[in-house]
């Protein structure tokens, strides 16, 4: 006799919307289990979810849907290339206009460099363009979030809540956060006591500018990959930018991160973000880059992007940044949509980790 409640069969169908929310980490424990029952019996779903958890993947689905073949009207399928061509032309002129009014691009990643282009995935290039456009589109009032740390003290308080200084936009959610003791008086990687319930395997950590970094041997089994330096090479003649040196220097992984995190420590979030995206473009699963890029996005006010990166860091198989990632993901969610953050904050409280008290205080104030 078969038992009445077969534990291997999902009790509910899996909608696309539920799958996307799962990939974004926006489900309750019960809902997650329901989705995961489907994953256990379906290899296609398992691989699809892994891919959809990549930064930017769920957001890109909207664009993909625009390419859907029309039903019943075959001629529409033939229109797709025309629409794409028009889109490409519009995008080209938009970006041309954007470039002419955005001087930061000229000093950031050297996408015009042919040597760079050999190693720079096209997606990174386009992602950086989008990120820069997002930053430029932010209200000017949000800028102090990124610069406040720098101005606050000669010793940067890097992991303070982003609202520890400067003027804030007149938004209720942000005002409420400002009233809370979200300031962490030390780097979570330096002094965070390990109070979480889940035991973690000890990993080889190093500290760059007092920021925790998982040693590359934990991620790559070696000293880590050598990375080409982002940005314009030092030996490029500014008067002749078209002349590119034949050999582009490479850096050890930790040296590369040292530069990126140095920028982050000084409050240069945008520069740090460029470098970290450069790294993510080649090593999307790099947990160091995921977390610090997410943190930079958070401090810049790019909350949806920050949430995706921090979620990726929180769910990375190398879980050294899990607590910090969940906390900053929750803070970013608070700033994006205060109500949606409650379950995340409650999970942090129930987890009893380093951020539990702050999460509890935040919840009680809301």
């Amino acid at each position: 006799m078969a038992h009445s409640t077969d534990p291997f069969t999902p009790s509910t169908p899996l909608s696309r919307e539920l799958l996307e929310r799962y990939a974004q980490g926006r489900l309750t424990d019960g809902e997650r289990h329901a989705v995961e029952l489907h994953l256990e019996s379906d290899p296609l779903l398992r691989e699809a979810v892994e891919g959809l958890q990549q930064p930017g993947a769920v957001a890109a689905l909207g664009h993909l849907n625009a390419q859907r073949p029309a039903q019943g009207l075959n001629w529409k399928w033939g229109i797709v290339p025309v629409v794409l061509l028009i889109g490409a032309v519009v995008t080209f002129f938009t970006l041309q206009k954007h470039e002419s009014t955005t001087p930061i691009r000229k000093s950031s990643v050297a996408v015009q460099d042919p040597n760079f282009a050999q190693t720079m995935p096209a997606a990174v290039e386009s992602t950086l363009l989008v990120v820069h456009a997002e930053i430029d589109a932010l209200p000017t009032k949000a800028v102090p979030e990124a610069t406040g740390h720098q101005a606050a003290s000669s010793v940067p308080e890097r992991f303070h809540g982003p609202s520890s200084g400067g003027t804030r936009p007149e938004r209720e959610t942000i005002e409420r956060i400002d009233a809370q003791p979200v300031t962490v008086a030390r780097d979570p990687g330096v002094a965070a006591p390990r109070e979480a319930q889940a035991p973690r395997p000890s990993r080889h950590l190093v500290f760059l500018h007092d920021l925790k970094v998982v040693h590359p041997e934990e991620l790559y089994g070696t000293a880590g990959p050598r990375l080409r330096s982002p940005g314009v090479p030092a030996n490029v003649d500014p008067s002749r930018p078209e002349v590119v040196p034949s050999a582009r220097p490479t850096q050890p992984y930790l040296d590369f991160l040292d530069v990126a995190l140095g920028a982050l420590a000084k409050g240069n979030d945008r520069t740090a973000l460029d470098d970290l995206y450069f790294l993510l473009g080649q090593y999307p699963d790099d947990v160091n880059a995921q977390f610090y890029a997410g943190l930079a996005c958070y401090r810049l006010g790019l909350y949806p992007r920050g949430i995706r990166l921090l979620h990726a860091a929180a769910s990375n198989s190398v879980d050294s940044f899990r607590e910090e990632s969940l906390w900053y993901e929750a803070l970013a969610t608070v700033r994006q949509d205060g109500k949606a953050a409650r379950p995340a904050l409650e999970r942090i409280v129930s987890g009893g980790g380093f951020y539990a008290a702050q999460a509890k205080a935040l919840l009680e104030a809301r």
Partner: protein, 186 residues
């Protein structure tokens, strides 16, 4: 009225494929709705590039009518999965012919039947679970019987998330083998 979709959305994949093979291209839209987002996820897993992923999905759907005309497709879902995976691997190899694909990267389709799992009685299941290795037993109990999520299982057992998934996959396979070996006891 002539714009209305006349393809019944409740047709099976195989019925839609049969229609598509017969020249009804409107079936393509329904298959797109069912699979485009999943195939994009698969492409993202391997290619890790949004634009390349979108290209892979659009390319596959553009060629789908011709592909199913050339191949006998008994079970569309695993076939489509295999086609997309192979395309992604071809893209990776084209970018770097020296890249050796890690066999572990390519998840194997579960070849075995699942009937033994679904038809087992609770007593049979309990007995089979008790014979599993420690890690697999704990994860199977917490996930399937106590309905914890992967994350909750990881927190309760102390295993990393990837190991929880691995224990669940291996445990489920071992359970099925055990149940099939002993046969129905009822």
């Amino acid at each position: 009225m002539f714009l209305r979709n006349k393809t019944a959305p409740n047709l099976t994949d195989e019925e839609l494929v049969a229609r598509l093979r017969a020249g009804d291209r409107s079936s393509l839209g329904v298959l797109w709705d069912r699979y485009a987002h999943l195939l994009f996820g698969v492409a993202m897993k391997y290619l890790k590039d949004v634009e390349a992923g979108k290209d892979a999905v659009m390319g596959l759907f553009a060629e789908l009518p011709a592909l199913i005309g050339k191949h006998e497709v008994k079970r569309f879902r695993p076939w489509l999965h295999a086609v997309m995976r192979n395309r992604c691997l071809m893209v990776l190899r084209k970018a770097d012919p020296l890249v050796r694909m890690d066999p572990a990267l390519i998840e194997q389709e579960d070849q075995g039947g699942e009937a033994a799992l679904h038809e087992a009685s609770l007593q049979e299941l309990e007995a089979a679970i008790a014979q599993l290795p420690e890690g697999q037993e704990a994860c199977i109990r917490l996930f399937y019987l106590e309905r914890n999520s992967y994350q909750q299982v990881a927190e309760r057992t102390g295993y990393p998330l990837e190991q929880v998934r691995s224990h669940l996959q291996n445990g489920r396979r071992n359970l099925r083998i055990s149940l099939e070996r002993h046969g129905p006891q009822h």
